[in-house]
């Protein structure tokens, strides 16, 4: 179990993380969802004993990260957002050395694991290629593979599928799930909604260094009133005011972003003609209309007031 208790990290006058509290259960996949600069990487580096928290505490399986960093490091493996690999080494060598440092596996078992992972990630043919000669996607897969072969008690992935094509993304997600099935607790930091939604059992929304919400994706969606989202694009939304639509009792919230209007509502199909009529009467020209169910993206927007780009 991992516990952050009122954890904070200050760099100069900037609070990268502030009063962050969460408990991560054994064997769960937790998605840390937030935009770039939200503090996700800082949280992970504090958990990985690279940074010291400036306030609060973090315990990993009962070990305080400041008082028992060596014990914590033996439990954790972190795959970084930007691949942190020695360019002069090949993919095989990077993984083999990582296993030498993090496990007590013998040579044969190390080779078996590395081979298995490289083959699964379609990197076996390039196993002797120096990583500095690899594409961004290949390097990223090597970075993820470090933790997949290590199979640590706590596996942390920072944007695990950044730079990856769709088939590779699906494959990495599958391998992360397998890791969890084998007993690892998994933390995935991401700014991709679909990744958080499809991979995580629980999503923690982080914004400006603070924990905004933490529930299952379904529970989070349930917190958005209405259950449906009507997305309207206006020709010119500068004169639009949310109160023009909140007079309808089925409408729970209205958010405006430039010319795009998001209406959180019930009975969208029935209400749509009335909304269109109201806007037309006010002189707005509607360019497009889209009615959809609430997504994690809408949840994020509701909680933070901003979209994840």
């Amino acid at each position: 179990m991992i516990t952050f208790e009122r954890t904070g990290k200050r760099f100069g006058s900037l609070d990268a993380v502030k009063d962050f509290s969460i408990t991560i259960k054994d064997g769960e996949i937790l998605g840390l969802l937030g935009p770039n600069g939200a503090g996700k990487t800082t949280l992970m580096l504090m958990m990985g004993t690279v940074y010291r928290p400036t306030s609060g505490t973090i315990t990993v399986n009962g070990f305080d990260v400041v008082k028992h960093p060596n014990e914590v490091r033996r439990l954790i493996g972190i795959a970084f957002q930007d691949p942190r690999v020695d360019g002069i080494l090949s993919g095989f060598e990077v993984l083999n050395w990582h296993l030498k440092m993090t496990t007590t596996l013998d040579k044969d078992e190390r080779r078996r694991r590395v081979e298995e992972a490289l083959k699964a990630l379609d990197l076996w043919d390039s196993r002797k290629k120096r990583t500095w000669l690899m594409s961004g996607g290949m390097k990223k897969k090597v970075e993820d593979a470090k933790i997949l072969v290590q199979r640590p008690s706590i596996a942390v992935f920072d944007e695990p599928t950044a730079f990856l094509d769709v088939p590779s993304r699906l494959l990495v997600w599958k391998m992360i799930r397998q890791l969890r099935d084998e007993g690892s607790t998994v933390i995935v930091a991401t700014n991709m909604m679909d990744e958080a939604e499809r991979l995580s059992e629980r999503v923690a929304i982080v914004n400006k260094g603070k924990l905004v919400a933490s529930e299952t994706p379904e529970q989070l969606k349930g917190t958005v009133k209405g259950g449906e989202v009507l997305e309207l694009t206006l020709d010119d939304g500068s004169e639009f005011r949310p109160d023009m639509l909140t007079k309808f009792p089925e409408i729970h919230d209205v958010k405006k972003q430039d010319n795009k209007i998001l209406v959180f509502l019930n009975s969208g199909t029935l209400l749509l003609p009335k909304i269109v009529d109201t806007l037309n009467t006010q002189g707005f020209k509607i360019e497009s209309v889209k009615l959809k169910e609430v997504s994690l993206e809408d949840v994020f927007l509701t909680y933070t007031g901003q979209r994840l780009e």
């Binding site: 002069i88 440092m101 007590t104 120096r130 008690s153 007993g183």
Partner: protein, 270 residues
């Protein structure tokens, strides 16, 4: 609290690393050494450059210089091996600085190796790398001048290793205490110039300008060069120089570790 980690989630497939400090230090050192072996052409070209320097430049200069009782060609040959090892040992500082900039250091710091072992491993790796790098040059000199006494060779190698270890510590100290890349380059280059050129490695102290001769005897490169020469040529042990080298190693490894710890405590970018 128990000193062994708890596996709260029933993980059974991976053995958790709780290895001996020696194993971790060696692995960390071998990482630096292995990088060298992946670029053998650097060793070969450096050895070739050394041969040219020795048999063209040094040969020519020694023909112009006549010092009674001193074979300058031989003097220069031993000294240039020592100066080279000092120069190579500085490289680890560049590596560490680059790793910090590129974030590889963050990765290394998440590995299950205590910080003290980490630093010793890096310094040892840097020193081993410098020794391996210089061995072809040392062998050339030993072969040409007929240095075959095993004890003399071992003493000379010990001096070279101590110098490499100390310079590595010095280089790490600079790498972790200077944050600007430009400033780091300048400081390290000046330091390298000062300890190598302001030493007795390439020219005898009696021929140095007064202002250089004041501090040259105290350069670690002088300690190593004097020890190596006394051992290889004079078959004697220069104990004061060897003691100076040991002190140099202790001071700069200690300083390197202290600065490193201080930097890590606040976070690499803190």
């Amino acid at each position: 609290m128990s000193s062994s980690p708890t596996l709260g989630n029933g993980l059974s497939k991976t053995a958790i690393a709780e290895k001996s400090p020696t194993h971790l230090i060696v692995q960390m050192a071998l990482r630096d050494v292995s990088v060298l072996f992946r670029t053998p052409w650097i060793i070969i070209t450096r050895a070739l450059a050394f041969i040219i320097q020795l048999f063209v430049f040094a040969f020519l200069i020694s023909g112009l210089i006549h010092i009674p009782g001193l074979n300058f060609f031989e003097y220069y040959a031993v000294g240039s091996v020592v100066a080279t090892i000092a120069s190579i040992s500085f490289v680890i500082g560049y590596d560490i600085f680059e790793e910090a900039e590129e974030g590889v250091l963050d990765y290394l710091l998440t590995l299950p190796i205590p910080r003290r072992e980490f630093i010793i491993g890096r310094a040892l790796g840097g020193a081993m790398r410098a020794i391996i790098y210089t061995i072809p040059m040392f062998l050339i000199v030993a072969f040409v001048w007929g240095f075959t006494q095993p004890l003399s060779i071992l003493t000379a190698l010990l001096a070279l290793f101590l110098l490499a270890f100390g310079v590595t510590g010095m280089s790490i100290t600079v790498a972790v205490s200077v944050k600007s890349a430009n400033r780091f380059d300048v400081v390290l280059a000046l330091l390298e110039l000062a300890v190598s050129r302001g030493s007795t490695a390439l020219y005898p102290i009696t021929f140095m300008p007064f202002y250089v001769s004041l501090f040259a005897p105290f350069s670690p490169v002088s300690f190593a060069a004097d020890t190596a020469r006394m051992s290889l040529v004079g078959f004697t042990l220069d104990l004061p120089a060897l003691a100076g080298l040991v002190a140099f190693v202790v001071i700069f490894l200690g300083l390197g570790a202290a600065f490193y710890f201080r930097r890590l405590e606040g976070g690499i970018y803190g």
